[in-house]
């Protein structure tokens, strides 16, 4: 694998052709001037030469474009930093065994959608017996005691319940992201647990389709799960974070957000 190239370009149909396609709308009436404007934007995005392969007007003052072209930017794989899973993926029986030998009691998990978010899809997919992506939910795990508080739980309710149930872990799902509600709600929750319970607070885990998994520290939680997370990954993380060795504890989150971003924001 040593001769794998570290610098790559987008692939259309030939190595190194750099081909990308993109679509966007400009507040310009359709016509040659609009197409010229689209080409100018494409060039500034690094797509050169670019082809406006399609355009049509939307209403009186807007034009929609589909653009193909070769992007001049390079991607340096050596400069790409992503979070690798820092814990082993366990089967349900391995999770049960680890909890039983590690804790000698059930591991208590509390789940909720907080704030005004009424979308229980995420938390249900992880917790419900039914599960997600062919994996059974956490309710299926014999050694996990799971309570799903449902939607629109207030932060004080969640903190009180976590205390009453002596929750080991609190899972919060956030789907609504308008105006960064998911980030705001998460920070509020983390702050409330810190204030109410200090070091005794449960493990805090948030998840949702628009979270960046690298944001845990910034949000004040222990772990962030993004789109496509399965119940098994969550269960495995719980074991890694909450039961003593032999399972190694998770390594601290990397805070690097650097990627080979040459495209201007």
């Amino acid at each position: 694998m040593t001769d794998e190239p570290t610098v790559v370009r987008p692939y259309g149909d030939t190595t190194g052709d750099g081909m990308v396609q993109t679509s966007f709308t400009l507040p310009v009436p359709p016509g040659p001037r609009a197409e010229g404007a689209a080409l100018q934007l494409a060039a500034k995005m690094g797509i050169e030469p670019a082809m406006v392969v399609h355009s049509h007007g939307i209403g009186a003052g807007f034009t929609f474009f589909v653009v193909y072209g070769s992007v001049r930017h390079l991607v340096d794989l050596a400069e790409v930093h992503v979070e690798e899973r820092a814990y082993p993926l366990l089967s349900p029986s391995e999770v049960n065994a680890a909890v039983k030998t590690g804790l000698h009691r059930k591991l208590v998990v509390l789940g909720a959608c907080i704030g005004t978010d009424a979308h229980t899809v995420g938390i249900d997919a992880i917790l419900n017996l039914k599960g997600f992506a062919g994996e059974k939910g956490l309710e299926y795990y014999r050694e996990l005691a799971v309570e799903n508080m449902g939607a629109q739980v207030t932060v004080p309710e969640l903190v009180a319940r976590a205390r009453a149930q002596r929750a080991d872990a609190v899972l919060v799902s956030q789907v609504v992201t308008q105006k960064d509600a998911h980030l705001r709600n998460t920070r509020e929750m983390a702050g409330a647990f810190r204030e109410a319970m200090g070091e005794q607070r449960p493990l805090l885990i948030v998840g949702g389709p628009r979270f960046d998994p690298q944001m845990a520290a910034e949000l004040g939680v222990d772990k962030v799960f993004g789109r496509g997370t399965t119940p098994g990954e969550v269960a495995s993380y719980l074991v890694a974070a909450l039961t003593p060795a032999p399972t190694p504890a998770p390594t601290p989150e990397t805070t690097s957000t650097d990627a080979a971003q040459e495209v201007p924001a």
């Binding site: 679509s23 899809v121 449902g150 629109q152 308008q178």
Partner: protein, 526 residues
């Protein structure tokens, strides 16, 4: 025009409706024995009380809340607010309703529950005020009929239903007009997240909604006026939809009638299951709100699509049918005619499942055949929209085709960017192009499409209907409230003595008087 129908086993359909009626009856009885703060506030809104108390809170508490809360503190809610409030007027303690509100604001109001002749006078005055309020709603209904006659209905079914949601009514208006020009027949203004759980209706034109725009009387008026303009321009009456759900269903229903909205989201159980609103509160509120909608000539839209976002669309298909049957029963009881009952269902089967499209057709045809005269609302995929916008666009195309093949009445336009962003201008445009392509390319296809008896679609529809009957039998046996408490619908368990808004429910006393119900039921018997 030939319509696609399955020949459903009449024993099953008759049994299903009988069971739905039996399941609903105890809840209807319960609803008639209770009132709620929102029902009582609706009575005051109907009589014309509007505005907010400039002094209470941050100046955003409506007068109807202030008056109802004060009446409740002084004499309780069990008599209804009409008796004490109009007694204050007929006894000369206040000139009119606004004066009552002012006295409440000043802290000088002293409410008593009248008896004998004084009670008769208060009832008569309250009834006259309610009748004037209903007359305004009647006039709006007549005006709608005139405008539909003048501009015309959409040229074809299904009606194309598009959502606008910026949070700012003044941004919504040009977007809604643009959507109408691009082909939308129905504009829905999504509400601000969390409005369901506000125990008051915000006031005035609003610009600060969150993932949606607040439902207020003034926002309703502004949007309806804007759509009247665009209807005249297009020569097609463009309908307006909002949401009578949450803690203020009855009041929002009144506002919708006052401002000539055309359709309203209104589900009998949605608030209970998805918003954790107390079941009794919900059933009382939905009954009153539906009586107002019935009178206003509004088409309700029920929320069965929601079940399928939390449960499996194949395994739980029968819960949709059960909910449709219950919604139909509650709607009929509240006086809604079949043409007003827009029962919902959705295209939410896992697309990787073999024969998923045939299963969708079977479920959609079951709804069409079981409710032949209902303006069914067909909702697009959301659960399996993954962010792969290309696949999403294809899936929406199949959704559009299924809607057309199975003769759906109202088609909510699906967005390929569902679950990614709130729709962009181009997303809406592409989505409408998708719909137009399918309608233009295959508009008459339902004429050629009749699944054979005993075939896959016919068998699947009967399986779902049979499962629905079995579930209804269980609900009749256990009780609807008990079934909701036990988690029969979706996975959520909602006991009747819990949930939000329970403190706003009161069992009515023998002398309870609701003048709006009085006027509404009298006319309904005509």
């Amino acid at each position: 025009m030939v319509s696609t129908r399955l020949d459903l086993d009449p024993r099953l359909t008759v049994t299903a409706r009988e069971l739905a009626a039996r399941a609903a009856q105890p809840v209807i009885d319960l609803a008639t024995r209770h009132t709620t703060v929102s029902v009582e506030r609706a009575v005051l809104r109907l009589a014309g009380l509007a505005g907010t108390d400039p002094v209470a809170g941050e100046g955003d508490i409506p007068w109807v809340n202030r008056v109802v809360d004060t009446v409740r503190e002084q004499v309780g809610l069990e008599h209804g607010v009409a008796l004490p409030v109009w007694h204050a007027i007929t006894s000369g303690a206040a000139h009119d309703l606004d004066d009552v509100a002012e006295q409440v604001g000043a802290g000088t109001a002293r409410f008593t529950v009248p008896e004998g002749t004084a009670a008769e006078q208060a009832r008569a005055a309250a009834r006259a005020a309610s009748a004037r309020g209903i007359a305004r709603i009647d006039a709006n209904r007549a005006r709608r009929d005139e405008l539909v006659a003048l501009h015309g209905d959409p040229p074809r079914r299904p009606w194309i239903y598009l959502i606008v949601a910026t949070g700012d009514i003044y941004e919504d208006i040009p977007q809604a007009q643009a959507a109408a020009r691009a082909g939308a027949d129905v504009i829905a203004v999504i509400r601000s997240t969390g409005q369901s759980l506000l125990d008051y209706v915000p006031e005035g034109a609003t610009r600060t909604g969150y993932a949606g725009t607040y439902a207020t009387g003034e926002n309703f008026r502004l949007m309806r006026a804007a759509l009247d303009d665009v209807s005249a321009e297009l020569g097609r009456y463009v309908r307006l939809t909002n949401y009578a759900s949450g803690l203020c269903m009855p009041e929002i229903a009144v506002l919708a009638g006052q401002e000539r909205l055309d359709m309203m989201l209104n589900d009998a159980m949605y608030g209970i299951l998805f918003r954790d609103i107390n079941p009794v509160r919900t059933f009382v509120d939905q009954r009153f709100s539906r009586m107002v909608h019935a009178r206003a000539g509004i088409i309700i839209n029920t929320g069965e699509d929601n079940y399928l976002t939390t449960a499996d669309a194949v395994d739980e298909a029968h819960t949709v049918t059960v909910s449709q049957l219950l919604n139909e029963r509650f709607a009929h009881e509240a006086g809604l005619a079949d043409w007003q009952i827009g029962l919902g269902h959705a295209f939410e089967i896992q697309p990787d499942l073999p024969e998923s499209f045939r299963l969708e057709l079977a479920h959609a045809m079951l709804a069409r055949s079981l409710f032949p005269d209902a303006p069914l609302k067909w909702m697009p995929p959301t659960k399996h929209m993954t962010g792969d916008v290309f696949r999403g666009y294809l899936l929406d195309g199949f959704f559009n085709l299924a809607g057309l093949l199975t003769d759906q009445s109202i088609l909510l336009v699906g967005m390929m960017t569902e679950a990614v962003v709130t729709p962009w201008l181009s997303d809406r445009d592409l989505a409408l192009r998708n719909v137009r392509y399918v309608l233009d390319a295959a508009g008459g296809l339902s004429e050629d499409f009749s699944p054979p008896p005993g075939g896959f679609i016919d068998r699947r529809a009967h399986t779902v209907l049979t499962e629905a009957v079995t579930l209804l039998e269980r609900i009749v046996q256990d009780g609807l409230l008990e079934s909701i408490a036990a988690g029969t619908f979706g996975i959520t368990k909602r006991p009747a003595d819990r949930g939000k808004g329970l403190d706003g429910v009161a069992r009515i006393a023998a002398d309870h008087y609701n003048p709006a119900l009085d006027v509404l039921t009298e006319k309904a018997d005509d």
